[in-house]
Symmetry: C2
Subunit: 138 residues, 2 copies
């Protein structure tokens, strides 16, 4: 929210401004990796985000250029959140975080086969997931 307009920004600091809170990465995970697109899908994720927080994060993500908000023409009640390339380019970050967590959390839900695919050819998995997400945009 706080715009630091200084030159020479530390990249970690910039990233934290964009997704350095408890919820943004989870929303991104749902949008990019679980194929969710609508408010009602996101509100049902098992971590239990509050309605006001979800709304406020989606708005911030729009401002930060991660999602584009669009209404469905055939039912104007429904809102779809499309991912930008900037957001899709966070897939490698999500996967690398997942690799780390899977290594150190003994209760990890990651299927071993998926971890193995990532270890053997990260780029291949990244491409696949990004392409799958792009297909869902329209």
């Amino acid at each position: 929210m706080t715009e630091k307009s200084s030159e020479n920004r530390c990249p970690i600091d910039y990233a934290l401004e964009v997704f350095g809170d408890r919820w943004t990465l989870l929303i991104l995970r749902d949008l990019a990796l679980s194929g969710k697109r609508q408010y009602r899908d996101l509100i049902n994720s098992k971590e239990g985000i509050a309605t006001n927080i979800l709304a406020s994060r989606l708005r911030k993500m729009e401002v930060d250029g991660l999602v584009i908000r669009q209404r469905k023409p055939e039912d104007k009640r429904q809102v779809f959140y499309a991912l930008t390339e900037k957001a899709l380019d966070l897939v490698p970050v999500l996967l690398e975080i997942g690799r780390w967590s899977t290594t150190y959390d003994e209760n990890s839900a990651t299927p071993p086969a998926l971890l193995q695919r990532y270890t053997e050819d990260p780029q291949q998995l990244i491409n696949e997931l990004q392409e799958a997400a792009r297909l869902k945009q329209r």
Copy 2:
């Protein structure tokens, strides 16, 4: 802080519990990539963390197995924070986040040469940075 002891944890959710706040990744950056080791180095990072937050995060990082707190024998006032392998294994995450930020933040401070090295051979850079950090532990 809140320990979810459930089986089948989402890896992103686990990571967020460990470093999903505004400061932990910055502390990790300073410890792992900038060679800082002591409280007084960390308090001087340009983002300006408050003393109470720094102390509380260092304690949480110790509980989470990221750092080991040790006093210098020759001056028992001084505390050193040594990184665990679990923390060093976050170097790839830090670099991937850095790669993303450098791509999308027009004010990024990342030297282009460094980004190029990362793009050309990520593993080589990771190894170098981890080895440099390990050498500083003793």
